[in-house]
Amino acid sequence: MKSICFYFQVHQPFRLRPYKFFEIGHQHNYYDDVQNAWLCRRIADKCYLPANETFLNLIKKYQGQVRIAYSITGTAIEQFQRYTPEVMDSFRRLVDTGCVELLGETFMHSLAALKSENEFSEQVKMHSDLMKKEFGVTPRVFRNTELIYSDTIGRAVHKLGFKAQLMEGAKQVLGWRSPNFVYEHKDKNGLRLLMKNFRLSDDIAFRFSQQSWSEWPLTADKFASWVHELQDTECINLFMDYETFGEHQWKETGIFDFLNALPEEIFKKGDINFLTPSEVISTYSPKANISSEYPVSWADEERDLSAWLGNDLQDDAFDRVYALEQKVKATENEDLISVWRHLQTSDNFYYMCTKWFSDGDVHKYFNHYNTPYEAYINYMNILSDFILTLKK
């Protein structure tokens, strides 16, 4: 027997509006409400609503044998509540089936884990509280922003009481080992690590509609055979952005037909089931310890942090926003703390990425600024206004 573990990331950032130098000190509204509403509506219609519907039907059809996991960021939920409340209802119906697990993460989809354990812990707790409030569940398994993991982060996550953390099955960490087993933190502290099988995940998330790919078109039958043929395998972790369904891969590519057909093809093979991350760790025991001294992520060819940090624009912006931590918290002003936290959303630094080639194309797709320089200037103008407000 082997198991497929599906996990989907649901995230929408609050996009900042064009903010001019002359507004600094005068205007304190930072978000592009029109664009946020429009994008939220569009993605809800193209992805969240139809994809949720698909999974809900599959869960019913196979009487609970189809099992999946999500993590939904706090900023996404804030926007659903504001712009598309029916998306919230739809996720609630999914959670109520008992076949869907919700994972923990930072409320703001931030990179706090790299900078301040204190702030990181608070954001994770905020997110857990939100899950409890909105869905009545407390996450037991953790996924950090962009699957960023290091030994240090793993320790912090363990301290917060999580049983397992998801990470990228990156070659620099796994070496010759297979991602298709459960691993454990190098401290042997009990924190299980689930490794993304990036080849099979990306076959769906990135290559599904790529006509130049030798395996195109990808059918459910073909995919199920690949899984079936895997030797020495316990769990196949298929982690991807939820927007894969309907947004990155349009409906016209047949992605929803693929999803609808997949369970049947999988069950036909007889030796494969679906499990949520929590079920995976109670079913399979860890095979070895894993150590990653440096942070790894699921992004780009490098699987590192270079999409968010590393160039001067990103590092300057990142350092300056975190330098405010003590001052912001000392105010005990909830509004100010919330604004500061929203400025930490990792997307803000992603827009400043200057890796234009190959992966840069993916970056451009998600970017509403013309250039990373423009993104930086806009962010810094807003940050400066925030600092002035803070001083008052």
Binding site: K20, F21, I24, H26, N311, D312, R320, N381, S384, L388
Partner: protein, 439 residues
Amino acid sequence: MRVLMFGWEFPPQISGGLGTACYAMTEALIKQGVQIAFVVPKKYEGIAQNGSDIIGANETDMTFSDIRTINDKFRTVNKNFNLSFIEVNSSLVPYVGQEDYYNIVNKRFAETESEQESIRAEERKAYRRFDFTGGYNQNLMEEVDKYALVAGQIAKTQNFDVIHCHDWLTYKAGIVAKQLTGKPLVIHVHATEYDRSGENVNTQVYEIEKMGMNSADKIITVSNLTRRTVINKYHQPVEKTVTVYNGIDYKDILPHRINNAFNKKIVTFLGRVTFQKGPDYFIEVADKVLKMDKNIVFVLAGSGDMLNRMVALVAKKRISENFFFTGFLKGGDVNRMFKMSDVYVMPSVSEPFGISPLEAMREGVPTIISKQSGVAEIVSYALKVDFWDIDAMANAIYGLTHYSALSNMIVKNGATEIKKINWDKAAGDIKEIYSSVLN
């Protein structure tokens, strides 16, 4: 006296100081009784009116035979310059269908008399217009040539005494007009390729500039700095060149200040973010000053091909807390920026004239200018430093932001001083130059 003037831009759609200067200069000339026909590549809705007769090259009708005549005329003259002018079989004639194109190219080979005649007849009635963007894009050279071609047509149909051209984009037009009419040509050098590009000159542009200067009866330069460049780098006779400084419209502006939200002193750079303007020196000096005094905010206002590099440099130096970018400022935002500023810095590597320090002075902002600027020749109440001398510039900024006696004196006397720098005086000088070439 009637002047046929060729320019590239005219307010309100302008990219730099040239359009503004042309507007103010023609206005002052008209006041002194000179009639102006001002040719722009593209006449657009809402173009400013100041009494000049604005002619759009884009609105000028030409027949194919007009095009051919002007072109042939220029080509015979042009051999001396070893430059190719408009080739009829290039893509320069828009709105030409394949058939028309065939006719133009093959008209000389029409075999029978009647065939030739029918083509000619068709040409006579086929009026065409050229399309212009009037901007500065990758087809600039092509547009410059088209402009010159149309200029020939305008010169043939207009009455005038003198031709006056502003900067290299219009020099070819001036040459064509002079060739066709024999009227004297005055060229006005607002900037040279050496100012724009340092020693890495674009040879194509240089050739056009040189050709224009060689063909001119008189060359007006906006400063002695530029005049020296024209003499030394373009090998023009000293007596053919004359300096006429630009002016500035003096309005009685009460220098009122807009307080800034930072509650700090603001030091401003305002201009195109290009090599010529020295924005990198501005960042270096900011870095230096900020090490001593964090109560100063630096603002780099403007846009240009060096902007991205400048943004990265500020991030790298970790001075973003005290350094801001506004992007290109439009209309009222320019004045707003001046009114927020405590010091204005123009660190230009090479500035033929430099109108913006005068605008800053008019708004009551103490000003630091590089010695490599034309404006430095005519103002006393501004601090002058070499563009590369970061220490001196830092000193000047520190002084003007900390010692109010110094900044007050500079502002007060500067305001008086710039009253003498006006367009009426410039127009008088230009009028005299017109008279000299007519005799």
